[in-house]
């Protein structure tokens, strides 16, 4: 009899761990569904709309790469909580469409997994929560340290940086970040 307890306990722990991991993905996916809805409402009303009543963040933009059919709703702020639900608009960087650099950051294994398929030259469409649309073209990518991104906040251009962890297939967090840089080619 007791010899069945240990495999059962093991199975339970395994299932919980697996479920916990899967939950992160489920949460990320479900949140985006809710966020799409909230974002559509934001665009319609022009007011920041919270995706669910207890949320501490709100959607600020929608990023889309048409060529590979990838899209995500970007949230205000880049705290850990916000990043669980969607890409975060890094504090103190410009808004999309404005002079300067807008930096969006998201997890490499959820919302920004698609970054590895975006190649230099791809068009990136940003829709702001006020409904304005801007089109960027990616011009280079780089791998940098998190504290040495080389991103020039004082730039005179209209730039966009999408950032996620590097390497894409690593299992543990590290100091390296993958950045995809894009320059605005005009309002969409």
């Amino acid at each position: 009899m007791p010899r069945f307890i240990s495999p059962l306990a093991l199975a339970l722990v395994g299932a919980i761990l697996f479920g916990d991991g899967a939950y992160i993905h489920a949460k990320a996916w479900l949140a985006q569904v809710l966020l799409e809805r909230a974002f559509a409402q934001s665009v319609a009303t022009g007011q920041p709309t919270k995706p669910w009543s207890w949320a501490d963040t709100w959607p600020v933009a929608r990023v889309e790469v048409k060529r590979i059919g990838a899209h995500a709703i970007v949230l205000a702020g880049s705290s850990g909580q916000a990043l669980a639900f969607g890409p975060g608009h890094v504090e103190q960087t410009a808004n999309a469409g404005e002079r300067g650099v807008a930096v969006y950051s998201a997890h490499r294994d959820t919302h920004f997994r698609f970054l590895q398929n975006v190649s230099v030259g791809d068009e990136i469409d940003i829709t702001r929560s006020d409904g304005k649309r801007f089109r960027y073209r990616s011009d280079y990518s780089a791998v940098v340290r998190f504290d040495a991104s080389g991103i020039d906040l004082a730039t005179q251009g209209h730039e966009l940086v999408l950032s996620t962890c590097w390497p894409f297939d690593a299992l543990t967090p590290g100091p390296e970040r993958y950045i995809l840089h894009a320059t605005m080619i005009g309002p969409d």
């Binding site: 761990l17 991991g21 890094v90 490499r108 590895q116 230099v120 780089a142 040495a148 991104s149 590290g174």
Partner: protein, 756 residues
Amino acid sequence: MSTISDIESDEHPMLRQLIKLGLVLLVQGIAVILIGFVALLVSLFVSLDPAWSATSDQATLLQPAEALSGTLLLKDDGVTTEAVRLGIDVDITVSGPTLRARVTQIFRNPGKDWVEATYVYPLATNGAVDTLKMVVGDRVIIGDIKERQQARVIYEQARRDGQKAALTEQQRPNIFTNSVANIGPGETVLVQIEYQEPVHQSGNEYSLRVPLVVGPRYNPSPIVQSVDFRPDGSGWGATKTDPVPDRDRITPPVLDPRKNPPINPTSITVRLQAGFPLGDVKSHHHAVKTDSPDATTRIVRLADDTVPADRDFELTWKPAAEKAPSVGLFREHVGDADYLLAFVTPPTLDQATQKPLPREAVFVIDNSGSMGGTSIVQAKASLLYALGRLQPNDRFNVIRFDDTMDALFPASVPADADHIREATSFVSALQARGGTEMVPAMRAALTDGIGDTNMLRQVVFLTDGAIGNEQQLFETITAMRGRSRIFMVGIGSAPNTYLMTRASELGRGAFTHIGSVEQVEERMRGLFAKLENPAVTGLSAKFSDTHADVTPAMVPDVYRDEPLVLAAKLDKLDGSFEIKGRVGDRPWSVTLPLSNAAEGKGLSKLWANRKIGDAEVARTMRELTQEDADKTILALALEHQLVTRLTSLVAVDKTPSRPAGEPLRLSELPINLPAGWDFEKVFGEQMQQVPAQLRERRADATGRTATRRPAPAAQPDTVRLPKTATTSELKMIAGLILLLLSLFLFVFNRRQLLAH
């Protein structure tokens, strides 16, 4: 199966239910595993994808053992590729008072990738850079002068479109960057820049200096250190912005000379047409071969064909006659204006007619890490010489600094035997280490404790000037100089000449350079001639018939053996001009008829460059607002086609060369450590604000690619990217392993059970 359950049910009725539960769990587990596997397979395929494509991009897979000796390897994610190689050719023609230099940089890409190369290099501080040419195959593309931002945009556009392009930008008046985009595999691109510079004259000797390497600079970190300093002055903490906002643009990778052979081979040729019969012609730091086609001409070449770019090239020449001409007057007609360049050496008073002037001398010595090696030896020898020259009625003090600071005496003391002895042992014991916090030392030196107006107050500052926050130092000097005069002594093989010249100009002193231990005595003797003899003061220039725009706007005091150098833009070349001043307490004047001026070359550029310098000085001294200074500089630079802080040269080859889709790698060309510097002292201790990753990379000297450019940690202008990795994958994999393990255990246990 049925038999098994029969046996079980017979023996253990309770067990049946438990097994049912177990089976349910098992089925559930298998389902989870199946789903997990599918998900994992999908995710693995997706995540392996970029790794494959990345490898296919790295066409050049080179193992270190295969590389020829002397090849520089840049490490990039475990794959090593051959780096772009650089050769430099410097060709200088001296025509009388000016020289024109043509610097050709040869970028060769031995790898199989398309590369963008950037190279940080020094030029003469007074050089007016006006020409950029890019040679691709048999095509020569001439660069245009553009506003800095606009030039950058043009360059970036060409880079993206796969066109070859070159961009020359000024980072400091003596530090420039060349970027070359889209150098194809196996290709060579030549980038040629040209500049105009006045020849330097001191006493009987003329000289030119070609800096070949930018010494690694100490860039004070922006925030922390204002609280670290001792309370030796107020207002220091008021600095809000980063003292070196462009730190990443002036810090190229530096190779450790102990582990790498020298790079960047340089050849130098000087065609010297002095305009008078030549006497002694001497290269101070390089062995040269000299040809003499005639009495006034010399052709100087390096004895070895090439040398590594690791120290300044310095050439001096003297006239065959006893005495150099004391007046030189040159003109050039450009557009609708005449430009004039005048060299006038004021007479020196006889020693006998002077009464010795009591002086208060404050010696400041830089003992930071960058001074390690031979520089500190030169600095100490110079300072010991200076201490020996003090007269008993002089007063003096000694201040030493690295990232800390000590004054030997609380205030200046009489130069009696005891004090001199104390100072000598203090100086002899100095060791080079630590960072270079120059501003507090300058503040301390300029603090006029005694305030005795009967004494001349002179600050002698010995340093290599290896700092990135020059502007902060200039502002300190302007704010605190009072009646002190600042004499800069540039030490070492590659000093920051811009810092030396501008600091001595703002401090109304003079600049001496000491490049080797052998030069210490001769140059210090020259410096003491300047310190001990009265300067020519109250100088002014007046033109009789014509309106003239004279630069420098404020005519500086001139020290013994130095010429007064004036440039002017004239409406017409008529009449004469008169220079007036006082030598000691005697009035002095000289009148020069303009009609006697000889034809010169590139004088308009020199005038414009000097005017730009005036505007920068006026900005530092808060006589001009930033906007007004920028407007003046921009107008002059665009009119005279000069590279400045606000303008760059850009050349674009209209023919696209890189096929669309081919990736472009960025390669930041490394530089040598200046000769005589101690790598350990500079990078081991000085740059403590540099993150560990950089130190490791530099220590193992594998170089690095720009995509992984580590910048100093304290950098407020850059974004800290948030953590963007979840543990979901890790958890899911660990969970799967546990589930599998439990399954095996379960099966194993059942087998055992059945065996009973």
